[in-house]
Structures are given as structure tokens and as C-alpha cells.
């Protein structure tokens, strides 16, 4: 790489080179192309490129910088130099940063090579979202075609002989009840014990997603008919594409989620099936469900299979942000107007479009501002107080959004918080005069996807991975990303919201880093407690009973260890509860394992401590009132990961159930009352011990469990499935 600059010791030539790049940079910045050599100031103000540092000055390890901006700032602070040059070789797509002061001393102190991973215009949409443009265009035309299906046909399958794609699309629906099943927003919580959509939840928090009821109902009507076709396509090793325009978009989305949830089964039943992930492409789709959907899809790493195209002014993707009562009559007229099958000719609904536009914008503004308060870490409770007066739409975006500016650019955005803000801000008006025209356009644009995407290959693609350093000013002469943001109509206020969304995402990653660093502490604590358990077992005492008695220093130390670990895990659970960790966190296998190991070894100690301090007397039984989140959450992690029913991995609460039964059976006359419970517990214990999920130290002669069990009626004991473990 250093080759082109081997001449750099010749100062004059170098200066000329810089001037050349400077000029070139200015020219190309306008067209959105990457810039050449610039002073730091210019570079910061004009360009926006994504770079990967290959070799770096001094102590920087090899790593990926998401933006040159940060890179520059860090360097400046580090080297205390004022001016740097960024040289970019267009041919080999590499850039070099040179410290000018050193250069003038005729020795290049150090250079670092930067490979430009992403520049604006040099990329095509297909590369950014890893999907062929051809597929997108096909999907779009088939999605539009589906609208014209006869009434009874609920879906359209398109197989091209030559290609490996099978595209499933669905007709839209144009009656209000197919959009809003009820007031105010027509949402419905997914059945928490479902045959479908078990993945659409937040695991630890045990919060299930909310989706639009009307769309869900329609999905359920279509699925039985479609199922076999999909299975066949998979068996034929086809690439599955689900697509839909308008209200068919949500159907495509739900189909894709259904597919992803059953994918493993397809593969299991026929190992030769395609392992190609499905694709879901929607065009002008309304929102589908609440923020849990995004959370769940990201956790499962499915989020990137969903691509949503949205025209800058299209009203439909925003319509569910407003309550039904505020827009019913207008929406009805607009839907009639949009319905491609409607035979009556309707005049352009100028008045209704304006009313609808204003209502939707007003409500979108409330939703966006409320969300922005959260993004900006605002602790102000006013927005919460207001919620008792105004109900806000629960719907939130997910997946990858591609906004069409209507000009030459496409803006790709993956951060769902940012997408929500753009949904509102991008259709703001710049002046009152625009009003009626834009309102009409907001309706008509809904059918312009096909023409907009016709020359997809030629469009510039702006890909916003790094939101914190966006150019904030929206002055007319902006270039590069600034220009794209202008074309999308994002004001400075909008950009501030995007920055905040980026900052929040970064903060979540930082939180995760912080937690990952605690792994060694956790490991140390767990080893110490496992050692404690072994030592207790050597003395034929269960560590549960040992801690409950707390006779020795060893017991005391174990208790302190327990509390130290509780501190770490409580912090994690608190963050999960507030959604302050990346959505992927609960999907990490490693953390699920750590959590399970932690729960199995430490929870008995918590129970011992609970009953030692008689907390059951003023708080209630451990299982009902005292069980900390750190165990409830980690148990759910495992049960979800293993796809087993809730509560089936309750081995770590074994002792709490024993303590509870001990208290309830003080008077043996009550045995019949608890018989059922004892029988089921014994059955579980047998299974847990056989699977080594529960240690056999519970069967030691003097353990609380054995002492209690031996007091049960003889008749019961002799027939019990666990009598074989207990030395009679």
C-alpha cells in the first residue's frame, strides 16, 4: 500500500498531490462520492465515510471504526496535531492519513492505511441489504399483481422456471375493519401460550408482543391454505420470498415469522431442504406490532430478513400511529380511492387527504416526541403524566427500512428508534403552501413503489450505521450525507433525534461491554461456591443445610460470595427490565449457560438464607413473594432456549418447595391436601436427579428434605418413585 506514496519524501510533489485530491474531493463531495485529501476541518464538515483501519498508529489495535469522524477526533486528541490529510486513492479505494507537521520535516512519522469499506455512491442497494435488486423488483411487481387476484384467492405464488426464487404475495384489503379491528388502535396481545409466535416476546420480562388484530386474523385465515405450498417450495430447495404491498405487508411479515419459527422443523423433517433464509420485502406496509417485535426479531437474529420500502410521503406506513376515532371517515374514503378493484371512479379526495394527513401527522408527532424523550434520556415525567390523558399508539417499526426520497437516493436505516423519528419528520412540510399538494401526494405515493424502484440500480444509497455524528445543519449547500438528509426532509430537530437514537444504541452496547467484563468475577464466584458445595458434601451435609445453619467461617464466606454475585446479576436484570441492553443479549448462548449454572448453584443458598431469616413470615413463601428476578429471568432464558414449557426447569427452587411443604405438613393430618403436590414434586425430582440437574446431596441422611420426607406416611413412602434414592 505504501507504494503510491513512496514518492512522498519529495515535498513539492506531495503538496501537488494534496491539492489535487482537495479539488477532487470538493467536486465529488457534491455528487456524494468519497472525498480526497482535506484538512481535518473540511473533512469533518464535508464527508461521511465508513472506514476500516488496517494498520494504525501506535497503540491502536486492528479494529473497525464506524466513522472516520470518530477516528479523526481520537487521533487529534492523541497526537495533539492540528492538521491531518486524508488521502484517498480512488482506484484502489484506499485512503491514507498523514500527519502534516511531521511531513514537513521530511519524515513521515507514520501513516496509516484505511480501507474504505463503504462510501456513498459506490454502493448499490443490493450490497447494503444483501439482496439482489432483481428480487426486489420482482417482489414489487408481484406484490402489486396480488391486489388484482379474484376475491376468493388469498395468495399468489410466483415461480420462475429459471430462478431459484419462489415469491409468495398477498392481496391488500381496503375496508377499515381489516386495518383496525377496534378502537383505539386495534392491537391485540399475542396468546402467551401459543402454537404460533412463541418467539415474539421478551424472555426475561415475560412480556409478549402486541400485534394488529385484523392483520393477525387475516394471517390465520391464509396460513392453512399456504402451508403446504411453502413446505413444498422449501423441499425444492428454493429461496422463499414473502412480499406484500400496503395491508398485505403485515401478512408477509407474519408469514415470515411463522416460517422462521418452523424452519428448524422443516430442516429436521427433511435434511435435504434449503437452508437459505427467507426474505420478507414489504412496500408501503402499515406497522405491524409493538416494540417487542423488534426486540424479539433482533434477539433471534432474524431482523435483517425484513426489508420495508417506504416512500418519503406515503401515509400508509404511518396511519396506525393515529387512533381509529380520529380518522375513520377520511380513511374510509381514502381506502376506497386506493382500492385497485374499486370500479366506481372516485375523484381525487383532496379534502379527505388533507384531513387524514394532518391527523396522522399530529398523532405521529406525539408518538415520536414521546419516544424522543426516552431516547434523550429525559427524566421528565411530564410525558408520562400526559399518558393518562392521551393514549399513544403502541406500534413500532422493526427490520431494515429503505426510505425513497423521491429523488435519486435511498436511505437505509436499521435502528428502529431512528426509523420511527424519520416516519414522522420526513413528511413534515417546509411551508404551509405545500400542504394540500403533499397531502394528496401522501395518498398517491402509496401506489408509486413500482415506478420508484424501476431503476433501482442507479440510485445512490445512504446507509446510516453511525448516527451520532450526523451533519446537523440543514443548509442549502450541503453535500454528501447532508444532502441526502435534506432530500429526505429531515430538519435539524429530526437529526438531533437520530443522533440520540444512535447514542442510545451505543449506550446499550457499552452496557453490554461492561457486563461482559464481569464474566471473570462471576466465574470466580461460581468456582468458589462450587468448591463450597463439594466441601460440604465431603462432610455428608448438603450445602443448603450448611448455609441454613451457618456454623463456620466457610458458610459465612459462601454467603458473602452469594451476595457479591447477586450484585452483579441484579444489575444485569435491572438493565434487562429497562431494555438497556442490546436486544440480542438474551439470545447469547454463553449468557444462558452462565445464568443456568449460576441459578443451579446459588439459588439454593438464597432459599437457605430466606428461610434462615424467616423472611417467609413477613413476606410470604419464597416462590410466591421472595424469588428474585435474577433467578426468574435466568430460568426463563433456559426454558425458552430449550423450548420447554414454563416452569419445567424449576430444579433450583427445589428447596423452597420443600420448605413450603414442611411448613404446611407440620400437622400430618393434612397429608391428603398436599398429596398431589408431593407426588408431582417427587416425579420431577426423580427426573432432575437422573438428568443431574439436581445434586444427590439432597438425599443425605440429615438433610431437611430427608428428615421431612421420612415423616410422610409409611404407605406413601414405600410406593414413592424416589424411595430408591433414600437410605431407609
Amino acid at each position: 500500500m505504501s507504494e503510491p506514496f513512496s514518492v512522498l519524501d519529495k515535498r513539492i510533489r506531495f503538496t501537488r498531490l494534496i491539492l489535487f485530491y482537495l479539488r477532487k474531493g470538493r467536486e465529488e463531495a457534491r455528487s456524494g462520492c468519497i472525498v480526497g485529501g482535506l484538512t481535518l476541518e473540511r473533512a469533518l464538515s464535508l464527508t461521511w465515510i465508513k472506514v476500516k483501519v488496517e494498520s494504525t498508529i501506535g497503540k491502536y489495535p486492528k479494529r473497525s471504526f464506524t466513522s472516520l469522524h470518530n477516528n479523526f477526533q481520537e487521533r487529534v486528541q492523541n497526537l495533539k496535531q492540528e492538521t491531518f490529510y486524508l488521502l484517498y486513492d480512488l482506484k484502489i479505494k484506499r485512503a491514507i492519513i498523514i500527519n502534516q507537521a511531521k511531513l514537513l520535516n521530511r519524515e513521515i512519522f507514520s501513516t496509516s492505511t484505511i480501507t474504505v469499506v463503504e462510501t456513498m455512491a459506490s454502493e448499490r442497494l443490493g450490497e447494503v441489504i444483501s439482496m439482489k435488486e432483481e428480487v426486489i423488483k420482482n417482489a414489487c411487481s408481484i406484490a402489486m399483481k396480488a391486489h388484482k387476484l379474484p376475491e376468493k384467492q388469498l395468495y399468489l405464488v410466483e415461480k420462475n422456471r429459471g430462478s431459484s426464487d419462489v415469491i409468495f404475495s398477498f392481496p391488500g384489503s381496503w375496508t377499515i375493519s381489516d386495518w383496525f379491528s377496534r378502537s383505539p388502535f386495534g392491537e391485540k396481545m399475542i396468546d402467551p401460550h401459543p402454537p404460533q409466535f412463541a418467539s415474539l416476546r421478551s424472555i426475561g420480562n415475560d412480556q409478549v408482543a402486541t400485534v394488529n388484530e385484523a392483520f393477525l386474523t387475516r394471517f390465520q385465515a391464509i396460513l392453512p391454505q399456504l402451508q403446504s405450498e411453502v413446505v413444498k417450495a422449501v423441499a425444492d430447495r428454493k429461496q422463499i420470498v414473502f412480499t406484500g404491498h400496503s395491508s398485505a405487508g403485515p401478512i408477509a411479515v407474519l408469514m415470515t415469522v411463522w416460517f422462521l419459527e418452523n424452519w428448524e422443523n422443516f430442516i429436521k423433517s427433511d435434511p435435504s431442504t434449503s437452508r437459505m433464509p427467507p426474505i420478507c420485502v414489504t412496500f408501503g406496509s402499515p406497522l405491524v406490532g409493538d416494540f417487542i417485535i423488534n426486540h424479539a426479531l433482533r434477539r433471534e437474529s432474524w431482523s435483517h430478513y425484513f426489508i420495508h420500502f417506504v416512500m418519503r410521503y406515503d401515509i400508509v406506513p404511518r396511519v396506525l400511529l393515529a387512533p381509529l376515532s380520529s380518522l375513520e371517515p377520511e380513511l374510509k374514503t381514502i381506502l376506497d380511492f386506493l382500492n385497485p378493484k374499486c370500479t366506481i371512479h372516485i375523484q381525487e379526495p383532496t379534502r379527505e387527504a388533507s384531513a387524514l394527513y394532518v391527523t396522522v401527522m399530529r398523532n405521529a408527532s406525539s408518538v415520536a416526541s414521546h419516544a424522543a424523550c426516552h431516547l434523550m434520556g429525559n427524566t421528565n415525567k411530564l410525558s408520562d403524566t400526559l399518558l393518562s390523558f392521551i393514549e399513544l399508539s403502541p406500534y413500532r417499526p422493526f427490520g431494515t427500512y429503505v426510505f425513497c426520497t423521491g429523488d435519486r437516493e435511498l436511505v437505509v436505516m436499521k435502528n428502529p428508534d431512528a426509523v420511527l423519528q424519520i416516519l414522522f419528520y420526513s413528511s413534515q412540510l417546509s411551508s404551509e403552501v405545500e400542504g394540500p399538494e403533499i397531502a394528496l401526494r401522501s395518498v398517491k405515493d402509496h401506489f408509486n413503489y413500482q415506478s420508484e424502484l424501476q431503476n433501482l440500480e442507479t440510485k445512490g444509497v445512504a446507509h446510516f450505521d453511525n448516527l451520532e455524528g450526523l451533519p446537523l445543519s440543514s443548509n442549502v449547500g450541503a453535500a454528501g450525507l447532508g444532502l441526502v438528509l435534506n432530500n429526505l426532509g429531515l430538519s435539524t430537530r429530526a437529526r438531533l433525534c437520530l443522533c440520540a437514537a444512535g447514542e442510545l444504541e451505543k449506550q446499550k452496547r457499552r452496557n453490554q461491554d461492561k457486563i461482559n467484563k464481569k464474566k471473570t468475577d462471576i466465574e470466580k464466584g461460581l468456582l468458589a461456591l462450587e468448591g463450597y458445595k463439594t466441601r460440604c458434601e465431603a462432610g455428608r451435609v448438603s450445602y443448603y443445610d450448611a448455609l441454613k445453619l451457618s456454623k463456620d467461617t466457610d458458610d459465612f464466606n459462601a454467603n458473602v460470595r452469594r451476595l457479591e454475585l447477586a450484585g452483579i446479576f441484579d444489575e444485569i436484570m435491572e438493565m434487562l427490565k429497562r431494555y438497556e441492553l442490546p436486544d440480542e443479549f438474551e439470545g447469547h448462548r454463553e449468557w444462558i449457560n452462565i445464568g443456568t449454572r449460576y441459578r443451579r448453584i446459588v439459588e439454593p443458598l438464597d432459599i437457605a438464607n430466606y428461610y434462615r431469616h424467616l423472611k417467609n413470615e413477613d413476606t410470604g413463601p419464597y416462590m410466591k413473594r421472595g424469588r428474585p428476578k435474577r433467578y426468574r429471568y435466568t430460568q426463563r432464558w433456559l426454558e425458552y432456549a430449550l423450548k420447554i414449557s414454563a416452569g419445567s426447569s424449576g430444579e433450583s427452587c427445589f428447596w423452597a418447595r420443600i420448605e413450603d411443604l414442611c411448613l404446611r405438613t407440620i400437622n400430618m393430618g393434612l397429608f391428603e391436601d398436599v398429596k398431589e403436590e408431593i407426588l408431582s414434586l417427587e416425579k420431577q425430582v426423580e427426573k432432575w436427579v437422573q438428568n443431574r440437574e439436581l445434586g444427590d446431596d439432597i438425599f443425605f441422611e440429615d438433610s431437611t428434605f430427608v428428615k421431612w420426607w421420612k415423616k410422610l406416611p409409611q404407605q406413601h413412602r414405600s410406593g414413592s418413585c424416589i424411595s430408591k434414592f433414600i437410605n431407609n
Partner: protein
């Protein structure tokens, strides 16, 4: 005043009516007690300021309260600025340029360009004053007062939601915070560039305000954060108690005599625990009633445990100084009193059944955290008697003490640790036995003489 908990209430008023609305809301907030009650919202339009720094602080201390007030003020309206205007001599403290009146709650400032909302009361003061100066610059000083039409303001706000409005930034600003402030000022017509080309000094001021505001929020006390650390301290204290017991004197006397290194360690846990709970109690006190009540029940168990465990150590410290008397009246820290009061208010816990207490008395702590103060007082009385002073009243006090102890024993409310050989209580018993002689008989002396206490556990 009766507030139903399902009703969402908005209290509003214009001009002086707004001030009344604010006062009324304050009244109302005080009476909202039931958990689950919806919070009222007070919206004023062009109301003059009503209070000084004291009121501002009282309200700002509580996040919930502060955000129950929304004050809408138009930049053209003199009224909301009247009591903070530098041109109003009545609004200034005597002999200084400092205004008496301070804003509280959230302000929505509106101008013909747009609107911005401010939360930090410092920033609100700055902006109100700046608005006043700005308007005064452009208008004759003797302008007539007129009723300002807020209906039009609200109408304009509603209609401009879908406009980008003035939220454009022409200058090049890197820092999002600064950009945000410039936008806010633009919206209320205050982003006037100085003649010299310097940046507006107001921006720097507001930036500072915001920084201070944010860091203040960050420093806020979060009780759950350090709870686990404090639980560790409690576990260590508990261990100390256990070790002391094995030395036959109980942790109270161990700490009182401070013979070994471990006693010195205790001083550090005790300090961090005390600091934590003092802060916690203060935090709970600052909350309005509703939050306070739910907060209390959540932390009461830990607090009671702490009080029973740690207060004896404070008593030991107190009586260590020669000649100190009457801990309960003179030495008891406020936070113990509060914690005890809350427990009483929460009602008797389930554990009040004597049977279960009897079973577990050896593991539990003495319920009355001031038990040792009573013992110390009794020791002092014995000392007095031996020196032949104040016969009558002293004896009476000792008999009261006897009764008190017997009561506690019957209820299984004291820990058996008091009967350990080296404990201050046994010390007292030895003194007392000598003083009253063998002929004296009472429930307690019987209990002690017959060594029934050996079976008390």
C-alpha cells in the same frame, strides 16, 4: 378534598387564574394519598410567578411534582415575566439585583417563530430575563398591559405541528447539545447574533445550566444500586454477631469493649450502612405521600433488620462516653425513629405469633432496638443506688425496667444473647441481685434465679 383515583384531572387558569391553579394543584398533590391515583396536571397560561427559591427547591426535589406543572408563556406577554423582570424594582431583593421570584415546573415558551419547552428552573429564569430584555429593546418601556390571547397561541401550535418550522440550523454546529439549545432559542426569537459576531452569551449560559442539570440528575441517589453492597455489610455484621456469641458475650458487648481487630472492622461496615440508610430515609421523606408509602413497604424489611442490628452499636458508642445519659431522648438518630415509626404504621407482621417466634428466637434479633439503652440506664441506676443516691425514684425505675424485660422475655422479643456470661445485661443482674438482696421477689428475679433463662432459646 376527595380525589377519586380513576379521574384524570387537569387544573388550568389564565393570568392570575393560573397562579391560583398552581396553588390549588399544590394543595391537591398533598392530599393525593392512595396508590394508583392518577396524577393531576396543572396547565397555566401566562401566569405570573408565585414563589421564591424555597418553593422552587421544594418542588424540584421531587421529579413527579415538578412535572405536574406546565406553564405556557408567550414571549409577547408581560405577565409571566413580570416578577422576574430586571425592570421591575419590586421583584428584586433589597439592595441587590437578585430577583426574589423563581419559576418551577415545566415551561412552554411560545413566540411567533415556534415554541420550546424548558425544564431546568435555572434555564427558565435565564430565558425569561433574556426575553424581557429582548422585548424591552424593541418596545417603548411604558407599554400598556393587555390581556394576551392564548387561544391563538394554542391554535398556532396545533396547526404548525406538521411544519418543519424554524427548526433549521444554518450554522455549522458539531455538538448536538449546543445545536439543541440554538434551536430552542430560535424558536422563541432569542437567537440574535451579537454585533461583534461573537456567539450569543445566552447559549453558553444555557449550556452550563444544562450540564449542571444533567450531572445533578446523574448524582441522584439510587437506593437499589448499592443495596447488594449493604447486604454484604449486613452479612458481615451477622457473622460478627455469631463470632461474638461464641466468645460468650454477645456482639453488643464485644463492640462496646472493642478488644480485638474484628471489632474495629465493624466500625467501617457500620459507617457505610448508617450512611446508606440515612440517605435512604431522607430520600423517602422527600417523596410525596403516595410514592413514599409504597417505597416504605418495599424497603421496610431491610430497614428494620438494619435498625435492630446496628442501633445497639450506636447505643454502645453513646454510653461509652462517661456520664452520658438517656440515649432515647438525647442520642437517638432521627432515621432510627423514622424507621421504627414506619414499622408501627405498617401494622403488625405475621411473625407476631408467639409460637413461631419461640421456635426461632435464637436466630432472630432483639425486636426493640433500644433494648440495650434500657440496660445501660438500669446499670446507671444501680450505680446510683450503690452510692446511696435518690432511693425512691431510682428503685421505681429499676422495677419498671424489670417489668419491661420480663415483658420482652414473655413475648420472645429479645435475643437469648442477652443471657451470655459477658453481657451487660448479666452484669446488671449481678449488680441488681446484690442490691435487692435475697428476700426480694419478682417475676424477673424468679426467672433469673431459677436459671430458667438457660431454656430460653
Amino acid at each position: 378534598m376527595q380525589v377519586g383515583n380513576s379521574i384524570s384531572m387537569i387544573i388550568t387558569g389564565h393570568c392570575l387564574g393560573g397562579s391560583v391553579a398552581s396553588l390549588f394543584t399544590l394543595c391537591l398533590l398533598k392530599s393525593i394519598n392512595q396508590p394508583g391515583t392518577k396524577r393531576p396536571l396543572c396547565i397555566t397560561f401566562g401566569a405570573p410567578l408565585i414563589g421564591d427559591k424555597g418553593l422552587q427547591q421544594a418542588i424540584s426535589q421531587n421529579l413527579m411534582w415538578n412535572s405536574d406543572f406546565l406553564h405556557v408563556a408567550a414571549s409577547q406577554d408581560l405577565v409571566p415575566r413580570f416578577f422576574i423582570s430586571p425592570y421591575n424594582p419590586n421583584a428584586m431583593e433589597i439592595d441587590s439585583q437578585i430577583g426574589i421570584y423563581k419559576p418551577f415546573g415545566i415551561f412552554l415558551l411560545c413566540s411567533k417563530y415556534g415554541c420550546s419547552s424548558l425544564e431546568d428552573p435555572e434555564a427558565v429564569s435565564e430565558v425569561l430575563v433574556a426575553m424581557d430584555l429582548e422585548i424591552a429593546r424593541n418596545k417603548p418601556p411604558n407599554e400598556q398591559w393587555h390581556m394576551f390571547d392564548y387561544g391563538a397561541v394554542v391554535k398556532r401550535l396545533m396547526s404548525t405541528i406538521s411544519f418543519k418550522g424554524i427548526s433549521q440550523l444554518s450554522e455549522m454546529i458539531e455538538c448536538p447539545r449546543q445545536a439543541g439549545i440554538v434551536l430552542q432559542l430560535q424558536a422563541i426569537g432569542l437567537n440574535r447574533r451579537q454585533q461583534s459576531g461573537d456567539s450569543n452569551p445566552l447559549i453558553a449560559k444555557l449550556e452550563k445550566c444544562e450540564e449542571a442539570f444533567v450531572s445533578k440528575r446523574k448524582m441522584g441517589f439510587d437506593p437499589s444500586k448499592k443495596l447488594n453492597k449493604r447486604k454484604e455489610d449486613m452479612a458481615k455484621l451477622e457473622w460478627y454477631k455469631k463470632v461474638s456469641k461464641s466468645e460468650d458475650k454477645g456482639y453488643y458487648d464485644s463492640y462496646k469493649n472493642r478488644g480485638s481487630k474484628k471489632d474495629l472492622h465493624v466500625v467501617t461496615f457500620k459507617k457505610s450502612l448508617t450512611n446508606y440508610w440515612k440517605e435512604m430515609v431522607a430520600e423517602v421523606e422527600r417523596m410525596p405521600q403516595k410514592e413514599e408509602a409504597s417505597f416504605r413497604t418495599r424497603w421496610l424489611y431491610g430497614g428494620t433488620n438494619y435498625r435492630r442490628m446496628v442501633e445497639p452499636l450506636d447505643i454502645a458508642d453513646y454510653y461509652k462516653e462517661n456520664g452520658k445519659k438517656d440515649y432515647k431522648a438525647n442520642g437517638r438518630s432521627e432515621h432510627y425513629i423514622k424507621l421504627e415509626k414506619w414499622l408501627e404504621e405498617a401494622g403488625k407482621p405475621l411473625s407476631s405469633q408467639v409460637i413461631t417466634r419461640k421456635q426461632n428466637v435464637s436466630a432472630s434479633l432483639t425486636e426493640d432496638s433500644c433494648f440495650w439503652a434500657h440496660v445501660e440506664e438500669a446499670l446507671i441506676q444501680c450505680e446510683l443506688l450503690r452510692n446511696g443516691q435518690e432511693e425512691e425514684s431510682t428503685r421505681k425505675k429499676l422495677i419498671e425496667f424489670e417489668e419491661y424485660v420480663m415483658e420482652q422475655i414473655k413475648e420472645y422479643a429479645v435475643s437469648p444473647e442477652i443471657f451470655l456470661g459477658g453481657s451487660s445485661f448479666m452484669q446488671w443482674w449481678k449488680d441488681y441481685e446484690q442490691i435487692v438482696g435475697t428476700s426480694y421477689k419478682s417475676q424477673l428475679t424468679d426467672f433469673m434465679k431459677s436459671r430458667l433463662y438457660q431454656q430460653y432459646h
